[in-house]
Symmetry: C2
Subunit: 120 residues, 2 copies
Amino acid sequence: MEWKLDKDRPICPQLMELIVTGIAGGEYAAGEKLLSVREVALQAGVNPNTVQKAFSEMERDGMIFSRAGSGWFVAEDTGKAVERVETLARTRTEEYVSGMRALRKEDADILRMVEEVCHE
Amino acid sequence: MEWKLDKDRPICPQLMELIVTGIAGGEYAAGEKLLSVREVALQAGVNPNTVQKAFSEMERDGMIFSRAGSGWFVAEDTGKAVERVETLARTRTEEYVSGMRALRKEDADILRMVEEVCHE
DNA sequence: ATTACTGTAATAGTACAATAATACAGTTAG
DNA sequence: CTAACTGTATTATTGTACTATTACAGTAAT
């Protein structure tokens, strides 16, 4: 895992996104053990509390679970993670389009710009 | 002006974007007087200090200017505003695409999703 | 059992954006 | 001139995200 974080945005949701994408993408298998809170904090260069918070929120959503003293593990059902990634993609696209429209961009211009950026 | 603000994001840049888009879109003509700091704060439901900060930052970029005691006015050259809107659109598109790629989306999927959201 | 890991919790401190409340000075219309 | 508007500046307070540090208890390997 790369832990490529943007320092200018909240770290907690970024961590969550990296992990959920890893699960949905199959890099983390169901039931697999994750890195420890302290290890992630070390590798990502952030505070353990922030990692703990990210893990706890993902646990609340049923995507991972913890065994106290033992570690964090990927949930048996990875469906939640796949679903979450899809929702994220959809939400982000909607926000992007509405943001571009606020800039007075026509749909055709939006599509053209996305295409252009993709092909670079 | 609508002052449609998202309370979950920093207000200052949102105000700047609304104004710069208004200038670039021609709703505010070159040299035209803008609403006062206090009036914008009232209409938008935010603190005057935040409006003052937004105006000052736009002044630093040469898009508007102030005459102390008189008010704020659109700069004679609106090119800066047009340019800024283009940069915003471009940057936002790049961030969107790279964000979607982080979710393991192929270019074709990205384009398909944008198209779908546009046609709704 | 000891050791070294794990999760978990609590507290304090930092940084930032925004708010709140004033105050002061320049401009302009009456 | 005066009154009512302007921009501008200052100080204090709130809320939030993150950091820093420490502590405690569960787990597992030796």
